[in-house]
Symmetry: C2
């Protein structure tokens, strides 16, 4: 039996009776699903993803109600997240229709300085069944029906999903919706399976039928699973989206011109979703003295006026309490503002605004604290601002607020941000991650375990694909997209004899 | 002092006095080179790669003489390999000129079902300094001036190369040639550095300034280094091109029609370069009975007529001797033909043709034996042929010889090959790996440690790049390729608002 806990009360709201988790049977079913997804082709998989999006929409009320009861995130946020999740399935259907993701490359036979070259045709093929670990903080968009699952299914890889223990009912309902969509599109196999236990999770990462892993979660668990994946007899790619300290720096001119507005925006960003975002800004580097005063005051006012928020689980709330305790015990740290306390029952977190001396940046101050907490660090000179930023490791995002008057510093900040973060946000806040062709959600370790790839955006599909080259294979045995005169939908953006062809 | 051994005599031909290997200074220099390579831009790096190719050509006689003395591969092969190496540098210059490798993706700001989307612009940036481990068997093409170095430099990543101990002088001369090319193109920093010791090699993989590793070599050493890379405090990508057993299967109709010709071609392929190729066919799956007789006879005749060949090093020759001993001791194995013995001095290997019973395929018969050895396995039915292939793990290549009469089997073979190998070769031999846009040289473990990427061909550059997304960054601060109206060479193939644009 698996308990579904209501974080608003801290009590068990429901108990799930889940079947025994026979990973060998799951492996066998995933292999069958792999064959069916390949047979469906790009068109069949695009139709399946769209049917899955429709199936989620049909079950919207039930899904949002379950997720709200399990996460406390509230119907408004969860409705938006479900819309995003359906939109994301549609984006990967578009990626399939487009076909450029196959990286079709054709070199006809011909002479070279080293002698004749054979006919070579390269494209990307699905890796095979993959494991997807759902995150606590996005029960839809980064969980069972989320970006890892959508991109893997698009690639042709069946998914064995590990439900996050903070929302087992939502995970089950989501899996059912995805399978209903698959059935509606004519697929008979279990293209998505579900496991719940931590024991099954570890075995999944080590399972010979699993060819890659997508994970969104904590550094501790992510690194543990990444190490398991690397230590397999045959290691497999592990895409861990972990998290780090997202920095936000404000130029002196920008702070003077609109410090209060930036402070308000920043307060909204770091307290959004009770600070439970991997893109939450964790440190604000702001000008010292009068230039930064409006900004810090606006931040402090917003925090002092904010109430406590329900956190995702007992573990999340306890982790936040512990993280805050470490921060408060660190030398050189003072409290600027504190939000309200929560009720006697349930799991909640109090918003907290701290200030740290630049020379105190060490230990817990350099680590992610998951929850509604922000540290302000003040700088005097441009060099001081950069020195503060250099104390922090790589991150998913780096945000810069700058006006024309900040330009000498701004260029240096941009250069630093580009080298250390996956996404550079200009005069904005990092907590929104758009689902788009150009999005990158990643970064060097510990932001992720693999800096080459993204977990959001169209190119997330690349994680589940490997190249295959066909040398002198007869046209009638080639995949349609690799033929010289591809028919209709097989005519994808490609490169022929070194030159790009749009379609 | 480092000994340069002549494998034809087994004696030390020269001793190198190499400077102390101060990895901290190397790291510092590599960071400076990283900045200079970025500043040079795509155009500057393309000019540098072409100047490097010219510098290799200028030193051709000296380079080939050194490599011949250190590897025994002979001037003809080494001249071809040097031509290939220079051509490869030129291919990556072409990749830079083309610019599609940047994966430029632009989404303008606009509405979405989840609210307004910011302006998002994505491209790929260099990871940073990388380590490249030279292979024993290609002193140019897979060593200091080889594909890993060329693709990394193209990406903008300086290289710290580990010289293979089988050819230290060639490595040093190659490094000097590359730096001469860099100087001629106006670059002042050490874009390529060199270390020799195994101790430095291990420390290099763990060095905080190193951001990725390219390796070509044995499964044993490759896995050891891959494990080091994965166990770092901050793990980095490790691209190990290791090797496995490349299969070649011959349909019954093809064997009947041209068995002798296939046998001759196959004999040439597995004995090429004294069998010291990671693409060497290791097992031939041929029809039993009269259909396969011509093929096996032609193979055996060629092998019996072949002399022993000089191998790369004492370790290579000893490894081959040991591998052959394990094969000969395995049950169900018989010798079909054996080539001549070598002289009393030096390191050499004798060509060997074995036959194994299908039911004997286990242990050493399923592992790579690096040297001029081939195992023939006979099959009766189509199912038997596939059962034999399924005994073997993934590999860099899978070759199929088939005529029209083999078609029902051929389609099944192709399907199996596509799922288990990086390159499928039709009616040909796997030992030639063309340098081309469409080449893929890779495969699932143990062929490589990372199935997503290639070490040969234009897309090898992708290994050294990570995405960066610019959100709402002002046009004047964007890289040229990300602007709306890119100037001249900045106008690269890209995707704008979801639609591919060829240029």
């Amino acid at each position: 039996m698996i308990a579904s806990i209501d974080p608003r009360t801290g009590t068990t709201a429901e108990e799930l009776d889940v079947p025994a988790e026979d990973l060998d049977r799951l492996g066998e079913r995933a292999r069958a699903a792999h064959r069916e997804l390949a047979g469906a082709g790009r068109g069949g998989r695009a139709a399946m993803l769209r049917a899955m999006a429709a199936a989620l929409e049909e079950r919207r009320a039930e899904l949002v109600a379950a997720a709200d009861r399990e996460t406390g995130l509230g119907p408004q946020r969860l409705n938006t997240e479900l819309t995003r999740t359906a939109f994301q399935l549609g984006l990967f259907a578009d990626v399939l229709d487009d076909g450029a993701y196959l990286e079709v490359t054709i070199d006809h036979a011909g002479p070279t300085p080293m002698g004749p070259r054979p006919d070579l045709r390269r494209m990307l093929d699905p890796l095979g069944p993959v494991a997807v670990f759902g995150a606590s903080n996005f029960p839809f968009a980064f969980s069972v029906p989320g970006g890892d699952t959508a991109s893997a299914l698009a690639a042709g890889c069946p998914v064995v999903a590990k439900a996050h223990p903070a929302h087992p009912v939502t995970s089950l309902l989501s899996r059912d919706a995805l399978l209903a969509g698959a059935r509606a599109a004519g697929l008979a196999t279990d293209v998505v399976s579900l496991v719940h236990s931590n024991e099954a999770a570890a075995r999944l990462v080590q399972h010979p039928d699993i060819t890659a892993v997508g994970f969104t979660g904590s550094l501790r668990v992510g690194r543990m699973l990444a190490d398991l994946a690397a230590a397999r007899p045959a290691p497999i790619p592990f895409y861990g989206e972990l998290g780090a300290v997202n920095t936000l720096v404000v130029g002196r001119a920008a702070a003077r011109a609109r410090g209060a507005r930036i402070g308000e925006g920043l307060a909204g960003s770091f307290m959004l979703g009770v600070g439970q975002f991997c893109t939450k800004p964790g440190v604000a580097v702001v000008p010292s003295g009068a230039d930064g005063a409006d900004l810090v005051r606006a931040l402090a006012d917003r925090v002092a006026a904010a109430g406590a928020g329900t956190m995702l689980s007992e573990r999340t709330a306890a982790g936040y309490t512990e993280g805050v305790a470490h921060l408060l015990a660190a030398p050189g740290v003072e409290v600027l503002a504190r939000g309200g306390e929560g009720p006697a029952e349930g799991f909640w977190g109090t918003p907290l605004l701290l200030r740290a001396r630049p020379d105190a940046l060490a230990g817990p101050l350099l680590e992610e604290c998951f929850g509604p907490e922000l540290i302000v660090v003040e700088y005097d000179t441009d060099d001081d601002a950069l020195a503060v930023l250099r104390r922090f490791g790589p991150a998913l995002t780096a945000s810069i607020h700058a006006d024309d008057g900040d330009r000498p510093l701004a260029a240096r900040l941009l250069d630093h941000a580009r080298r250390t973060a996956g996404r550079v946000v200009w005069n904005g806040y990092p907590t929104g991650v758009a689902v788009a062709w150009a999005m990158h959600h990643g970064g060097p370790y510990p932001a992720t375990t693999n800096p080459l790839h993204t977990s959001v955006g169209a190119s997330a599909i690349r994680r589940w694909l490997r190249p295959v080259c066909f040398q002198d294979v007869p046209a009638e045995l080639l995949p349609g997209e690799l033929r010289d005169d591809p028919a209709g939908p097989d005519r994808v953006p490609r490169r022929v004899d070194g030159a790009p062809v749009a379609r």
